[in-house]
Symmetry: D2
Subunit: 339 residues, 4 copies
């Protein structure tokens, strides 16, 4: 039984983390904090009434370390890097749900997140928490960079073909659609009900900060640079991401071959479900679960692979994957709390 | 052809007003203004691109009067009363969509709107713009108080029985449900997408500011005080109100009698549709129209009348009814711009 | 560890039952069946892919009894009564989610469900599964009638005041709003997406079959007949019920007194949350949980009590409450599988 | 003033057609019919109560011709081709909203619509009703093939670059998202509320029947075959289409150049709005209008053009464009009834 802390309980990821951890048999949540919100957790999130008496404290770097063994940082980007170093020094483990430790290059981080990286010393220590590809490193991680929501769906959809046939992949286009919770808990006109409901639009076209994260890990797998075109859209739903990924191939692949690759690749994975030919991922089948559903489909001419990939942005795309990573780091059953 | 101005174009009612007025053959929109927003109207509301080149000005009381003959004030409560007097003095007509001139008693206004009334001199001059009951007064009005959204649906649903059988009505309970646009265009956590979607709740239970407006006009019709219990709820839709109204009767009425009363009452009304027995109002049948759909239903024991009444809160509950009132005030065809 | 069967897996309640039971540590699902659907459960409900290999059989009364110790019947009304008697005879326990054993009078059943009751012999044996009021009887039940969704929210909202002050209650009006899953899994124009979305309406006004169920159990608690006016509405959401209940009192009650009554009544209940004055139940706080959130509010004159009550129609209103009942029947921890 | 008939009033396009035509000052709707539905139009669509007394007849080929001058056929695919020939022979004009006369090759029609074409003689006579490209031909048309919803958004988004730089375009990928009304008025599980709400999925991946229609008209404009990859998705909204179109270019284009091309191309078009750099089309800005909003965006390397294009599938994608075509065919003001 380990003691865990959640920093950032007032956000959506914090809420989902607590929901999962309260049911997890190997942990006890001993600390919840936020940047400015304080008070009973069931006042912050009435959904927890009757489930917990936890009280949220204002995060305090000096007092925090003694209160838990592992800290989940569910904070906005550019805040984790101010905290993580000190917690690590105090011998604590960290699972960071922000983008702060995902990009290896602090120059690239600055370009996309418009801030200097304040803890670049720990960048190389961070392990990217995509279990399907980095499970062995995750076991030994003390600073875990939990993947972004869009990158999770993209990488799980692409890595089989990118890993096995890097030389055939000419271009990757990712047309991504996300529910509104991906924007976080904030008040902005663009996510007011009347501006989202019965609406749909693209945003940050060719300019979204998850693009370099996707490119970086595709590049590692391919051993070469993979050009990525990425366009996100806002769906009028709470949670869920579906990405439709177009992979242009230089030489033909057959549907049977591709199906075989994906099935083998994910055969033993507890949270990736490769659908049979003819079926398509639907957000309703993955929402509130840690599953990623994937369907690869090849064009008649064999030179266009269309992969559809669906996750819940707050679960497999954030809090669920974070718990999966914790389970691996501590040797718990990998699915504990998640099925 | 008259010249009309819209003050408050940046709000939802302002947008719907302009949409209707641009199609109205007897008016020209010569002035649009707002409290703080300025610039091309099609930047404020991109939906108007290609339909108008109007530019929104900051409202200026000294320059405004010369720019139009009639002013629609689509402002938040407590703002119209600072403006209306001066415009009236300048010989202009006013249709005020706020609550400022609906309540006759300035004490009651203060109790419910938490502000002193600054133009109580004009309160008695204002005509309440419910055409089905005050058409003759509306013809001669220069200061028109356009009814609130909840009161419109409530009064149209209740006035036939209240007018004809005031002595039989023991109690009125109004269970009202409204779409989110009723809250206006603002950024507040309670109307963020993720807090409204897949949700439903009551709010301001027994404490909503439309209660005294409903009571006042029911009382006028009944010639006595009618106790009103009013509970509003927030529907996860953009626009539309449905009210389920429970009228406890001291003596029996039959379904046939009630149906007859309602049918006769609204027989010649262009915008009230009394549904046949067995049919129920649905918001989708009235949304984006100026219609009010009504179905009265009597219990087996004849002592409970359940009236359901549906409108679009932004049309018959605001901008549409305002234009209907303008049509009456100027002798235009009453349905012009509204069918 | 007991063996449980689910009859009616293809419906929404069957799906939620399986979801809960797969996580329940004291049971093993050994049998799933349906009236006509057969095949792998994860084909019927793709959400279960990776979680179970169960195969749905066509229900067969002769073979079924040996396959489980307890059967959940999640069937349409009028079907359970053809099955329950034989299963009981074979020594099995039954939790019936349909209406077949809720109404004590077979004449009343016929009036509202338009069918002769075919197992009236077992009607008196059935225990009504509202744990907050019938826990002791539930412990010994072998035939459990799981309450309807609307009655669950209504009875939990009303029973404290009805039990304690039956003589003061003059009339009960229940204005109920339900998500679409309450209509079950079927194809009908009225529940097509385009006919529900952005819509809201009342249906079966004063004529819904849950009315006598509510009346019967209110009457038991009051020791007298309580007149009930019941009007259901269809909300454009998946799941969740909110009822706004108007109780006319013959003599005054204060807010403090009522708050005290409700708090005491539910103090030790694990799944009923009485909200503090000023808070209101919201469907989003109870959906996908077994909680019922309740807020009582008294009018200024003390003679109108407005109780708002919210549940998830598929959980506390169906499958969750069924599992809670199972937990009580078998002496499991009452909250097992449900928090 | 011409007499128009609507065949297929019970479908969504029929409903929108009538809504527009009732407000059109140059036409009188003298005939409404359907395949099987009959009775008052305001019973079929209660939204029309108070607006029309029209009665829907069962379509009868012998009696129909004398009842109108122009017939809108809003029928399912494969039905118009049984009717159009006879109406043409009787000297009537036809605007067909189905796919029957859009594909020039009856072999291709058979491949994608799984039916023999029964009126191939008239295929070459049909004019494709995309006013922005075929206005002159439309003026003289007697058999007008109204474009499909997906092709309208795709062609308006692509034709400027395809027409001007056919040699540079290497590949076109269309990622299309549509509201549910695109599926028509039918009862099928996939479009029941609980299966669409809070969901999103791709369907008919690389296999949608609008693909050859898009290819055909792109090919005409390019003077060569343009490979098209087309993947449609189902949005949880009533109406509206947004397409994100990826055009791979063999040589660079700049953002300024592309913006200039699109602005010039549509400068005089009343219903195409090219957005300024930085703005993106949103479905809420085009829904219930005949506008198509378009934003072209070029990648940093100048070799990927991303065009987003939004319409209302029932208006510019069906009934609205049909009326626009009628206006052109009869020399009415092109925007009459549509602004």
């Amino acid at each position: 039984m380990i003691r865990v802390g959640i920093v950032g309980i007032s956000g959506f990821s914090g809420r989902v983390l607590l929901d999962i951890l309260l049911r997890h048999k190997d942990v006890r949540v001993t600390y919840v904090a936020a940047h400015s919100t304080t008070g009973r957790v069931d006042h912050i999130w009435p959904v927890f009434k009757g489930r917990t008496d936890l009280v949220c404290e204002k995060f305090d770097l000096s007092g925090a370390p003694e209160k838990a063994d592992l800290f989940f940082l569910a904070l906005p980007h550019t805040e984790s890097m101010n905290i993580a170093g000190a917690l690590l020094k105090a011998g604590k483990k960290i699972i960071d749900l922000s983008a702060d430790y995902r990009i290896r290059s602090s120059a690239l981080y600055k370009k996309w997140y418009h801030a200097d990286h304040k803890d670049s010393a720990n960048l190389s220590r961070a392990v990217y928490g995509l279990p399907e590809f980095y499970r062995e490193k995750i076991r030994k991680a003390s600073l875990l960079a939990n993947p972004g929501c869009y990158p999770t769906a993209a990488l799980l959809g692409l890595l089989p073909v990118i890993s096995l046939f890097p030389e055939r992949v000419e271009q990757v286009i990712i047309d991504a659609k996300s529910g509104v919770s991906g924007a976080g808990r904030k008040t902005a006109e663009g996510i007011m009900y009347c501006f989202v409901n019965e609406n749909f639009k693209a945003y940050r076209v060719l300019d979204h900060q998850h693009t370099p994260e996707i490119s970086q890990y595709l590049g590692y797998a391919a051993g070469k640079t993979i050009p990525v075109v990425f366009v996100p859209h806002l769906l009028p739903i709470d949670s869920g991401i579906l990405e439709t990924i177009y992979v242009r191939l230089s030489t033909r692949l057959t549907q049977a071959k591709v199906a075989d690759i994906y099935n083998k690749f994910y055969k033993t994975e507890p949270f990736v479900r490769v659908l049979q030919d003819g079926q398509q991922p639907e957000i309703r089948n993955v929402v509130r679960t840690n599953f990623c559903d994937i369907a690869p489909k090849v064009s008649e001419d064999g030179k266009m692979l269309v992969v559809t990939s669906a996750i819940d942005n707050l679960v497999k795309g954030a809090a669920g994957q974070a718990v999966q990573n914790m389970n691996i780091m501590y040797g718990f059953l990998e699915t504990e709390g998640l099925l």
